[in-house]
Symmetry: C2
Subunit: 514 residues, 2 copies
């Protein structure tokens, strides 16, 4: 499946980012063997290299959930249609995306064709999110304020029928985690909503090397049924935004719908205050679009399934055994070292292929460090080390012992470099815009004939009206990504909405988005 090793002047991925960004994205995924489309429309197959990244994300995020007092549980995949319909905005928001189980059994019909057999009395919706099915359990578990808070999370698959699927970013089936909590007071639930957004932000920044903006969604972009949706928004290399995690304050909407009621400290009955929050396999698509380059995937070391690949170079039969032995010895030394609290993950690529072919495969898979070791290196006691965040041809020759000692620091440095690079890119493409003309120019490609990377994040005033949002979405496909929080570090600066001339309490973040 992988592409052949291209001549030096070319890039490993065709097309390049600047030629055709969407196609480049597909080719990076293909070349790294991360995932592929399946024959089930909109559903993907996540291959081991992609799934290994998800396992790392899952383990690291799960540790953060547990450190903030959450435990995992598992609720049914199927939601009875009547449950699902309990919250009016919710069902309206998801109705178009539902897959519905209407039958059990398969049987052979009169024409000898296999068809669905027994109709169900009540159709079952395949969960597009689990507020309503989890709410049914919470209603049973919660009687008194003593039963609160409930702080649970679930890792599972989700189905939302997609008309325009795009691998990892928007698929009919995807993997995610969904936290669902119930609290005694509104203040506690609002705190939880913010706490989990902070967890996402920290995870994105420190693990995936993604700098994000955070804030609140406008009403039109809110989760169906929520009172408030908080989000983190990343800018990827075509300068579009990707929503990388959301945390919802649900007020009492869902507890009213599900009957989650408790006796308060002063003996009254009240509905619980609930939250929900989720992050998905979309994060993998985000990291590809942010960090990959024209030679393929570039993985932040924290979430790379393999940190270091050792490529033995064995041009002559007589030195072959010695080189392989040295490679295994080096691997053992590296595995005894730790990075970010765990052993360094090392792979030795012993396959009987040319060193160049092997090296390019690992370039395309984005492994942070590649180490070549050949007969001459055995004599000199050196290894040739290449960092994936630097030019593919760049090599540093290090004494083997020195490299073993420095390996962990090199990984730290790559992680930091990817974050710095992403932050600089984002900041260079984020602009304060206070005029309508400039705003329209910013979001319009110069050569209207062909697709072109343009735009970015615009910090622009907004009068708070839905009409402005609709107009701009219609004209430019640009939406409000978030309304930044008002805090000491980021005080609101009142001004004038350039689209209407009405007063605006603060600038908000606008962008084209996935």
């Amino acid at each position: 499946m992988a592409q052949p090793n291209p001549p030096a002047a070319k890039t490993a991925i065709t097309p390049r980012r600047d030629e055709d960004f969407p196609e480049w994205y597909q080719q990076v995924i293909r070349a790294a063997e991360m995932a592929e489309a399946s024959d089930v429309r909109g559903s993907m197959v996540i291959r081991p290299w992609g799934y290994g990244i998800w396992e790392n994300m899952q383990r690291q995020l799960d540790a953060k959930f547990k450190a903030t007092g959450h435990r995992n549980a598992y609720f049914p995949l199927f939601i009875p249609l009547s449950y699902f319909a309990k919250e009016a905005e919710h069902v309206e928001g998801f109705a178009k995306e539902c897959a519905v189980v209407t039958h059990t059994r398969l049987e052979i019909n009169a024409e000898g064709k296999m068809v669905p057999g027994s109709p169900l009395t009540e159709p079952l919706v395949v969960r597009p999110t689990s507020e309503t099915i989890i709410g049914a359990s919470y209603a049973k578990w919660v009687q008194s304020y003593r039963d609160l808070p409930i702080l649970l999370n679930q890792w599972c698959n989700i189905v939302r029928w997609e008309m325009r699927p795009r691998i990892f970013l928007r698929t009919t089936e995807f993997l995610w985690q969904e936290g669902h909590t119930v609290h005694e007071t509104e203040a506690e639930a609002r705190e939880e909503t913010k706490r989990m957004l902070d967890v996402y932000e920290e995870f994105a920044r420190d693990h995936v090397a993604l700098p994000v903006f955070h804030g609140e969604k406008s009403e039109s972009e809110r989760f169906p049924g929520a009172v408030q949706t908080l989000c983190i928004e990343a800018m990827v290399q075509d300068r579009k935004a990707i929503q990388a995690g959301t945390s919802h304050f649900l007020g009492q909407n869902f507890s009213r719908a599900s009957g989650i009621q408790f006796q308060t400290r002063d003996g009254k009955q009240e509905f619980g205050w609930t939250t929900s929050w989720g992050m998905t396999t979309r994060m993998i698509g985000t990291l590809i679009m942010m960090h990959a380059d024209d030679d393929g995937l570039v993985l932040p070391p924290r979430i790379a399934p393999t940190h270091i690949v050792i490529i033995p170079i064995t041009p002559k039969e007589e030195t072959r055994a010695a080189v392989l032995e040295a490679a295994d010895k080096l691997a053992a030394q590296l595995r005894a070292m730790s990075y970010a609290g765990s052993p360094i993950e090392v792979e030795v690529d012993n396959r009987d292929l040319g060193g160049g072919v092997k090296s390019w495969e690992w370039v395309k898979k984005g492994v942070p460090l590649r180490v070549e070791i050949g007969p001459r290196d055995l004599e000199s006691g050196n290894v040739a080390v290449s960092r994936r965040d630097q030019a593919v041809k760049a090599k540093a020759f290090l004494k083997t012992e020195e490299f073993v000692q420095q390996a962990s620091d090199l990984l730290v440095s790559i992680q930091q470099n990817l974050l710095t690079r992403a932050t600089e890119f984002r900041d260079a493409n984020t602009r304060v815009i206070d005029s309508k003309d400039e705003f329209y120019a910013f979001f319009t490609p110069k050569n209207s004939g062909k697709p072109e990377i343009h735009g970015g994040f615009a910090l622009t005033h907004w009068d708070g009206s839905r009409g402005v949002e609709d107009q701009i979405k219609n004209d430019l496909k640009v939406t409000i990504r978030c309304i930044p929080f008002d805090d000491a570090a980021n005080p609101p600066e009142p001004g004038t909405c350039p689209f209407t001339g009405n007063p605006s309490p603060r600038r908000v973040i606008w962008a084209k988005a996935y």
Copy 2:
């Protein structure tokens, strides 16, 4: 939900095992807050205590899969009906258990009722197992013998419509792992099939303290489409068998159906040799039925979410702070110790409830070690330690330091004791039976009026005919659990089938089963 603390003479669970085993099982699960039925028929909600056990099983089994060269991946939940129908025996075996998605979207009909909207051109089966959908990917990935073996596993949810659901043991939706491998030769695939059965056996024995018999299924109990099904079978406390893991040699049946073909070393085209193997949340039901007692769950330490619970006893306000401080200090000391390669998991139960009430809750949850610490213990420097594998009232008074040093050994001892106990129980209820009358008597309750624990495993000759299996299943609800492997430790002993008088190559294991 938990039951009130019963008077000393009674047991914490009502009814007792000998009174009504099936109801006792439900009550143990309820009292431990492990899981509960949901309103979706046959689907369960796995609560945090039950899910914590599954997380441990998953992590430990996953490590064994990786150590045997497997990697994880993820394939679609939905299988197009046409794929599913490719292997004739397979579709026949699962047709009755399928849930079928026929529509996407929900819409409001003319009567104002919410109903399924757009019919799908081809219905989708919710995976009851994934051979056919995974086979479609493997057919694309495999071209040459160089692409083999493929050694993948997936952790996911599975749906098989159940007419008689029983929590954990038989549910419409359950969680499992399914390994799917492709090999160049029949011999390699057969080796893999056996290797993974060995992994299951080792996991059951060393982690879940379940001694199991292993062997091959007779044709009537084989996985639909398999050439050979290997299994491990546990005996639980009502002396019935539970199939606790299966590993299938699929021959070329599924590769033929999916078109998994490769170029051999001598340039010919051949179909791949495939295997599949699975273990499910049913393992949780098995461990309950094996280890729990009339006071509730008893957890093998290896898979317990909490190893040690510390219960501060605070009868007087003036010593309260000192006791809580001592409890936290002890917890910190214990967490610094390791058991089975990981830190000891400790919980301090600081809730403002009586010590007896709290202690009984942890008894019912099956935590291996309970430690009480009160004002008098502070003076004496002692703690009162109770092992869940001993009588609930039994306490050992140990110097705190001594307990910290011994904690890991105590956990090892409990794990070993549970395995020994289970092995003795199984052996005491496994009998060589060579006459038909004795066989029928063994499997018939003495008081036919009410349910009664009886029977066990019978090692009895069989002539290999389906007729005998059908007759005995019909008469006694007894089936062949497995045909033991012929190996040096367990040589086949030819004899006579007591049901027909025909010759029999060896005794096989018969039992009633879940």
